[in-house]
C-alpha cells in the first residue's frame, strides 16, 4: 500500500508550548489508523495539522504527493470540503438547521441543487439509522442521534480521508460502539482512510494500526509513561 497522507517532521507549538515536536506519520489509502495517547500529548493537534486545519510550524504534510502546507487557506478549505471529512466530539451541527439540512450543507457548498442534496442527505441519515429524524433540529435529538447526523455529514461527500477526534467521547458505551462500527463499515466499503484520535484502548482497537503519542512525539511503548491514563 502506498501512503495517501504523510506527515514528516511535524512541529507545531501554541505560544511557547510545543504540542508536536518533530513527528512522522503516514496513512495508507483505506487504512484506519488510531492516534492514541494521554490528554495533552498533541494528538488533536496532529489531526488538525494532517487535515490542513492548522498549519505546521515546521515539517510537511503531503496528501496524494502534494505538500498541502504550501496551499492557500482557500485551497485547503476546498480540500477539506471535497476530499476530507471531519468529525468532532460534539457541537459541530448548526443548531438552527434540521438534520437533513446539516447533512446537505457540504453538498450545497459543492454546488448541488437543493432537492438533490436533500435526497442524498436523507439517504445517508437513513444509513446511520436516523432517517426518520431528517426534519428535526439537533436540539431535539439525543447525543447519539446528533453524532450520527454528524457522521452522515462528514461522509456525505464520500471523502477519501475521515478525521475523527474523539468521535465517541460524548456518547455512552453502546451508542459509541454502534457509531464506530457504522463508520468502520462505511470506510471498508468505500475504501475511506480514517484517522481516529482517542485516548481509549477499546476505541483504538477499531483501527488497523495504532500510533501512540507522548509529549508531541511517537511513543513506541504506547503506554504514555509518566502521565497516567
Amino acid at each position: 500500500m502506498t501512503a495517501l497522507l504523510t506527515g514528516t517532521g511535524l512541529y507545531r507549538s501554541y505560544g511557547p508550548t510545543p504540542a508536536l515536536r518533530g513527528l512522522d506519520i503516514s496513512v495508507a489509502a483505506g487504512e484506519i489508523v488510531a492516534v492514541t495517547g494521554p490528554s495533552g500529548c498533541g494528538k488533536s493537534t496532529l489531526l488538525h495539522c494532517l487535515a490542513g486545519i492548522l498549519r505546521t510550524d515546521a515539517g510537511e504534510v503531503r496528501y496524494r504527493d502534494q505538500d498541502i502546507g504550501l496551499w492557500s487557506e482557500a485551497a485547503r478549505s476546498r480540500l477539506r470540503r471535497t476530499d476530507f471529512g471531519v468529525l468532532f466530539q460534539f457541537g459541530q451541527l448548526v443548531p438552527e438547521l434540521t438534520a437533513a439540512e446539516n447533512v446537505a450543507l457540504p453538498l450545497l457548498l459543492a454546488g448541488s441543487g437543493r432537492r438533490e442534496a436533500r435526497k442524498s442527505a436523507t439517504l445517508w441519515l437513513g444509513r446511520f439509522g436516523v432517517g426518520d429524524l431528517a426534519d428535526q433540529l439537533p436540539g431535539a435529538m439525543s447525543g447519539g442521534q446528533q453524532q450520527r447526523c454528524a457522521v452522515a455529514r462528514a461522509l456525505v461527500t464520500e471523502p477519501r480521508v475521515l478525521f475523527a477526534d474523539e468521535p465517541t467521547g460524548a456518547l455512552d458505551v453502546l451508542t459509541g460502539e454502534q457509531v464506530l462500527t457504522e463508520i468502520v463499515h462505511v470506510a471498508r466499503e468505500q475504501g475511506t482512510s480514517v484517522v481516529l484520535v482517542t485516548h481509549e484502548p477499546r476505541i483504538a482497537a477499531y483501527a488497523d494500526r495504532e500510533v501512540a503519542l507522548r509529549d508531541g512525539v511517537l511513543d513506541p511503548t504506547g503506554l504514555g509513561l509518566g502521565l497516567g491514563a
Binding site: 501554541y14 488533536s44 488538525h48 487535515a51 486545519i53 492548522l54 482557500a74 478549505s77 476546498r78 480540500l79 477539506r80 470540503r81 471535497t82 476530507f84 471529512g85 471531519v86 468532532f88 466530539q89 457541537g91 459541530q92 451541527l93 448548526v94 443548531p95 438552527e96 438547521l97 439540512e101 450543507l105 457540504p106 450545497l108 457548498l109 437543493r114 433540529l137 455529514r153 462528514a154
Partner: protein, 508 residues
C-alpha cells in the same frame, strides 16, 4: 461574602466576560456623557423670569437654544431622550455572553453560593463595569468641555462650555449609572434560574405573533387611501367627516409605529422564512434558518433603531411642512399690499431647532446600531464552536460572512423602509399642504364692513402649497442607517474571523 471576594469573583472571567464588561463600560461612558450634558444645560444660569421674553435671554451664548430660558428644558428633554437608546445599548451589552457567565454562576452555586449571592455577583460585575464606564465618561465629558470651548469673536459661545453642573449632579450620575446597570443586570436574570447543576433558561421560544405584521402592513398602505377617503368623507359628511378621516389615519399610523417597534421579531421571522423558502445558496439557507430560530436576538435594539428612524422620518416630514409653510407665508406676504416681513427672519431659528432633533436622531441611530453590533457579536461568540467546526469541515469563511450579512440586513432593509414610510405618514396624515394668508382687514365703518364684497375690505390672497415628500433627505436618512448597519456587519465579520480561529476547537 466579603466585598473583596465579591469583586474578585465578579471581575474574574474569560474573554467573553471581558468583552461584556468592555461593552457595558462603553455604554456607561455614553450614558454619563449624555446625562452630564443634560445637567450642564440645566445649569445655565437664569438671568430673569422666562416670561420676560428676550430680556431674560442669557446673551453669553450664540445659540438661541441655550440662550433662551424657555427652550432650555426642551434641549434637556432631548438629551434625556437620547439616554433611551443608550439604555437599550446597555441592556444588550449586559446580556452579552451571559450563557457562559450564567454557567460560571452555576459553578459557584455548586461550590455553595446562595441564589441571592449569584444574582448579586452578576449585578456587581455589571455595576463595577458601569462604574468604571461612568468615571471614564466623566473624564470624557470634562475633556469635551475643553475641546469644544470655542468662544466666538464677540465673546459668545455656541455651547455652554463655561458652566459646570453642580457636584450633586456629578455624584448623582456616577451613582445612577452603575446602580441602574446593576438593576438591569439583575432584571435580565429574571428568566434564568441558576441551580447548582446548571442553568434553566425560560426562553421566548414561541413564534412571533402576527398582529404587529398586520399593523405594519396597515401603516404602509393607509397613507395611500387617506386622501381619497378623506375626500369622500368630506364630500359625504362635511368637515366632521374629514376630521374623522384624519384622526383615523393618525391612529392607524400610530398603531403602525407600535407595530414596527414591537414587530421586529415578526419582521425577522418572516424575512427568515422568505430566505429559507426562496434562497438557493448555503449562506442564504443558514441566514434564513438563523432568523427563524431566533428572531428575538437583538430585536430590542432593532426596535430602538426603528424608533429612531420613525422619529427621524417624522422630523423630516415636519421640517418639509415647516419649509413649505414659510414659503407659503412669504408668498402670501409678497402678494398682500402691506408687504410685512412675516416670519421670514425667524425661520432659520425654527429650522435650527428641528435640526437639533435631527442630530439627536442621528446619534440615536448610531447608538442603536452599536447595540445591534453587540447583539451580533454576542451571537457569533456564543456560536463560535459551531462556526469553528464548520470552517474545519471546509466551509469557507466567506459563506459564513455572507450568511451574517443576510441575517443582519434581511430584517433591516424592509424594516427601515417601513419605519421611514410610517414616520412620514405620521406627519403627512395630518398635513399634506400648507396654507398661509387669507383673511383680511376692513378700514370702513361697521356697516360698510358688513358686506364682504365692499371695497373697504382688503383681502389678503390665500396661498396654498403642497408639502413635498422630502425624498432626498429620507434617502439620506435611510441610506445612512443602512451604511451604519453595513459597518456593523463589517465589525461582525472581524468577530467572525477571530471566532473561527481554529484554536477555538480546543475550547470544549
Amino acid at each position: 461574602m466579603k466585598p473583596a471576594t465579591l469583586v474578585r469573583l465578579a471581575a474574574g472571567g474569560g474573554r467573553t466576560d471581558a468583552l461584556r464588561m468592555a461593552f457595558t463600560a462603553a455604554s456607561a461612558v455614553l450614558a454619563a456623557v449624555v446625562l452630564l450634558a443634560a445637567a450642564t444645560v440645566g445649569a445655565v444660569p437664569e438671568l430673569g423670569d422666562p416670561g420676560d421674553g428676550s430680556a431674560a435671554w442669557n446673551t453669553r451664548y450664540s445659540s438661541p437654544l441655550i440662550a433662551e430660558p424657555g427652550l432650555r428644558p426642551g434641549v434637556v428633554m432631548t438629551l434625556l431622550l437620547l439616554a433611551v437608546p443608550v439604555l437599550f445599548l446597555a441592556g444588550q451589552s449586559i446580556r452579552f455572553g451571559s450563557p457562559a457567565r450564567d454557567r460560571r454562576l452555576a459553578a459557584l452555586r455548586l461550590a455553595g453560593a446562595t441564589p441571592g449571592q449569584a444574582v448579586l455577583l452578576a449585578a456587581a460585575e455589571t455595576a463595577t463595569a458601569a462604574l468604571l464606564g461612568s468615571l471614564l465618561g466623566t473624564g470624557v465629558f470634562l475633556a469635551l468641555r475643553v475641546l469644544l470651548d470655542h468662544p466666538e469673536a464677540d465673546g459668545r459661545r455656541p455651547l455652554p462650555t463655561d458652566v459646570l453642573p453642580g457636584i450633586a449632579a456629578f455624584v448623582l450620575v456616577l451613582l445612577l449609572v452603575p446602580v441602574l446597570a446593576g438593576l438591569i443586570g439583575a432584571f435580565l436574570l429574571r428568566r434564568v434560574i441558576i441551580t447548582p447543576l446548571g442553568v434553566v433558561r425560560r426562553t421566548r421560544s414561541r413564534k412571533p405573533r402576527l398582529w404587529p405584521g398586520v399593523l405594519i402592513l396597515a401603516g404602509v398602505f393607509v397613507p395611500f387611501v387617506i386622501r381619497p377617503l378623506g375626500e369622500f368623507l368630506a364630500h359625504a359628511g362635511g368637515s366632521t367627516g374629514r376630521d374623522l378621516s384624519i384622526a383615523g389615519a393618525f391612529v392607524v399610523v400610530l398603531l403602525a409605529v407600535v407595530g414596527v417597534v414591537v414587530g421586529t421579531g415578526w419582521i425577522s421571522y418572516t424575512g427568515g422564512r422568505l430566505l429559507h423558502r426562496f434562497g438557493r445558496r448555503p449562506a442564504v439557507l443558514l441566514a434564513g434558518r438563523h432568523l427563524m430560530a431566533d428572531p428575538w436576538n437583538g430585536s430590542r435594539t432593532l426596535s430602538a433603531l426603528l424608533a429612531a428612524l420613525v422619529i427621524g422620518a417624522g422630523v423630516l416630514g415636519y421640517r418639509a411642512y415647516m419649509v413649505t409653510q414659510f414659503a407659503a407665508s412669504d408668498a402670501a406676504d409678497r402678494l398682500s399690499a402691506d408687504g410685512g416681513e412675516g416670519y421670514g427672519a425667524e425661520n432659520s431659528f425654527y429650522l435650527n431647532s428641528v435640526d437639533l432633533v435631527r442630530v439627536a436622531v442621528a446619534v440615536g441611530v448610531v447608538v442603536a446600531a452599536a447595540g445591534i453590533m453587540v447583539a451580533l457579536a454576542e451571537g457569533i461568540v456564543t456560536r463560535r464552536r459551531t462556526y469553528a467546526a464548520l470552517v474545519a469541515a471546509g466551509v469557507p469563511r466567506r459563506v459564513l460572512g455572507e450568511s451574517l450579512a443576510w441575517q443582519t440586513l434581511t430584517p433591516l432593509v424592509p424594516a427601515v423602509l417601513v419605519a421611514l414610510t410610517v414616520g412620514l405618514s405620521l406627519v403627512r396624515g395630518v398635513a399634506q399642504e400648507a396654507t398661509a394668508g387669507g383673511g383680511g382687514t376692513c378700514d370702513g365703518t361697521e356697516a360698510q364692513c358688513a358686506d364682504l364684497t365692499s371695497p373697504y375690505w382688503h383681502l389678503s390672497p390665500e396661498v396654498t402649497l403642497a408639502v413635498p415628500v422630502p425624498l432626498g433627505q429620507l434617502a439620506v436618512l435611510g441610506g445612512a442607517a443602512l451604511l451604519v448597519m453595513l459597518l456593523v456587519v463589517g465589525v461582525g465579520l472581524i468577530f467572525l474571523r477571530r471566532s473561527t480561529d481554529l484554536d477555538e476547537l480546543r475550547i470544549a
